[in-house]
Amino acid sequence: MIKLTRRPGVEDFALDRLSSMDTGGLISRRELLKRSTAFGAVATLGTFSGVLSATAQAEGKVTVGLDSGAFTPILETFAPEFKAATGIEVTFASYPLGNMYDQNLLALQQTEARFDAFDFWPNFTGDFGPFLTPLEEVGTLAELNFDDIAKPFQLLNHYDGKLVGVMIDGDMFVDTYRTDLFEDAAEMAAFKTKYGYDLAAPKTYEQYRDTAEFFTRPDKNLYGAVEVTNYFVYAFFINQLVQLGAEKGERYGQLFDDQMKPTLVTPTAIEALRRYKEISAFMPADLAASMPWDVGRQAFFDGRIAQANWWTDMPKGASDASISKVAEKIKCTRSFGEVTVLPYGRAMGIAKNSKNPKGAFAAIAWLQQSANANRWVAETFAQSLMDPWRMSMFNDPKSTFPLQSASGFADNFAAACKDTLSNPKCYLDISIPGTNRYLGSIIQHVQRAITGEATPEEALQAMTVEFEETTETYGRDRQIAHHNEYRDRMIANGYWS
């Protein structure tokens, strides 16, 4: 089982880790090695050009915390290069994604840092903010290659007006649809007859609903849509809320008024919840009320779903013939609605209690250099891991998304992403202190509404009560200040209205 025939050296070790990496059978070990060697050369160049100044004073050791054991091995293969470039030794520690909030918050309150740098959902910037080092106190935006980051992502991770984190993973919703269904002449004709307009990837909620309804054929084991109704309900509910708000010309997605009173029990929110529930009728019936993230995706891979309004891991996986039955039959495009919604994603920041903030900055900056970042996405892309967050990543889709390049899907994917990210209308998750609790309330009560435990009104009312409690706990005045700052940041950039 475990071969211990010889004592491995450092390189062997790194390669072993790489080869033991969970590539999900997408890529052979040899190919991966070959590729990483090629990238290694590029990366070394990038390192020298970009990070040299940042690392001038930095030395010693840096511990980087990451939310999953699965891609730690990939980063570990970077460590020797990083050390060669900067003289800093990086070690990676991981915690479960489900414990990202609590483990980090606990770590940040220790006197001594457990992680110098670590990743978190940008939603939590408000909660983590007090414990994070503003990046510009340690280095410059130029060192972070900040201009290349897609505009919406530049606006995330601000606390008290200061940048405290930078993205390493850009989650966004895109629409993945089945060409064998959407581009089938018979289907198109039937659709036109039934709904009076041409069948195409949906641009509006109505189209989304109609196409979902059209393709829902339980007797053929085919369903029109799939959304998460389990733990990640938040993202899908907020998407409905935002798109509906935009349709109505409201200030979309705003959860509080200027006195931090929740604006939840509104016709828009009730309707959004109703829409969310309505869509669940076109999902695999047994799972509709509580669709888990992995199961929903698997259902699409199995060819049971016609289209998916989902994160980019859906097209990534679905285009991979080794795990998907529909690999040759998909396309992706911007998700329905006018607004780009960017739920979750991952940022990396520097702990305030870090003993080596310079080193931590150097590590982050190294990963932000285009060559390294592209490689990071390329190598973790097989998994549902790192999604593009920089515009340069779309310059040469075939190298950034190598696994999809053969089918030509890489270009399609890059175009959809680029289109989504450059949308002038965009919604960024709330990230004020207490977001973890606000989110928790949303997740809990939207789920209750979906499962029928509560009516939409009751669920929203319960959310309101909990929101108020959280706001009181954190102090209303402080919350108002934080919320104002967040709102101003959105409005100043043309979002939200």
Partner: protein, 326 residues
């Protein structure tokens, strides 16, 4: 040759010096033997409980840099006003009052089945005991895989047989039954062992006597076996009742309390308040409420058992039960 015999009955005599010395040495020895363990247990109970008690009367929020205030019974008021508390309490009670009786019924069936075997009883028993030895985490994901609605074998089998199987842990209606099912799966063997011990303790001659008296199998079971097993069933019930407050790992792995709050028991609710939201004041108060509930519940069950025993003239005997895992 015979010594003179004097019999004097004195009142309580004074201890001799040697006795006093000896008793003191004995006490010292006892103290030295028990001391380290008791000190250890004492320190590790007193510290956390002092903290817990203190936290439960304050607004302690671990994650928020705001001052902690004394709120008196405020946390307890919040608990009793919260619908989540009442629903989690009822889910905990479902475990105690539905899962446990089912375990006892099924355990009884298994025990009778095994007891009826003349050969191989031990091997079967030890195979049935496997789930009990496993980490609840492993149990949780073994079931998660087994019940997976898409690539799990059970639903594939059921679909193949023409059923429309539920999504088990992912289904709002089935999630709680699923967790209960896993609990039953894991702990029925324990009840089985207890009852098997009970069955083995019934002397064979009683069955023979019953047969001679012309009692059929069912009558023998109802009139003889069942009454004799009542102490064992009581013991199993009390232990499982206590354990039902501990159910956490399987919920954590299978449902995380969801969908909605449909599988959120007291333990998970407390965890969520404490380490999901870091509301240590509320979580502390919840812990205390739980401890009180458990203590009162266990004590009243035991009192009831004892009262019944006295009424029927059969004081619950000190039952020797056999238990492999706590």
């Amino acid at each position: 040759m015979a010594s003179p015999v004097t019999i004097r009955v004195s009142s309580r005599p004074k201890d001799s010096a040697a006795t006093v010395r000896h008793n003191r040495a004995e006490r010292r020895a006892t103290l030295m033997l028990l001391g380290p363990a008791l000190t250890f247990l004492g320190l590790l109970s007193i510290w956390p409980f002092a903290y817990l008690l203190y936290a439960s009367f304050t607004s302690y929020q671990l994650a928020i840099p705001i001052p902690t205030e004394w709120v008196g019974l405020g946390n307890f008021r919040r608990i009793f006003a919260s619908s989540r508390f009442w629903s989690s309490l009822s889910i905990t009670l479902i475990f105690a009052l539905v899962a446990v009786p089912l375990q006892i019924a099924l355990g009884m069936g298994l025990a009778l089945l095994l007891n009826g075997l003349s050969r191989g009883r031990e091997i079967y028993a030890s195979l049935f005991l496997i789930p009990m030895m496993l980490a609840p985490i492993v149990v949780g994901f073994a079931w998660n895989l087994f019940l997976n609605p898409i690539y799990g074998p059970l639903n594939a089998l059921l679909r193949g047989m023409g059923f429309q199987p539920p999504a088990w842990a992912q289904s709002p209606d089935w999630a709680l039954p699923t967790i209960v099912l896993v609990d039953i799966w894991q702990w029925t063997p324990f009840v089985m062992v207890v009852l098997l011990a009970g069955l083995r303790s019934i002397p064979n001659r009683i069955f023979e006597a019953a047969r001679v008296d012309g009692s059929n199998r069912w009558q023998t079971f109802v009139h003889i076996v069942l009454p004799m097993l009542i102490p064992y069933m009581t013991v199993a019930f009390v232990l499982r009742f206590i354990d039902s407050f501990k159910v956490f790992d399987v919920v954590y792995i299978l449902t995380k309390g969801g969908p909605g709050t449909s599988t959120q028991n007291l333990a998970y609710y407390t965890y969520d308040m404490g380490f999901g939201r870091f509301d240590f004041g509320l979580a502390g108060a919840l812990s205390i409420v739980q401890l009180v509930l458990l203590t009162v519940g266990t004590m009243s069950i035991l009192a009831m058992v004892r009262r019944r025993g006295r009424a029927t003239g059969s004081e619950l005997p000190p039952v020797k039960i056999e238990r492999v895992a706590a």
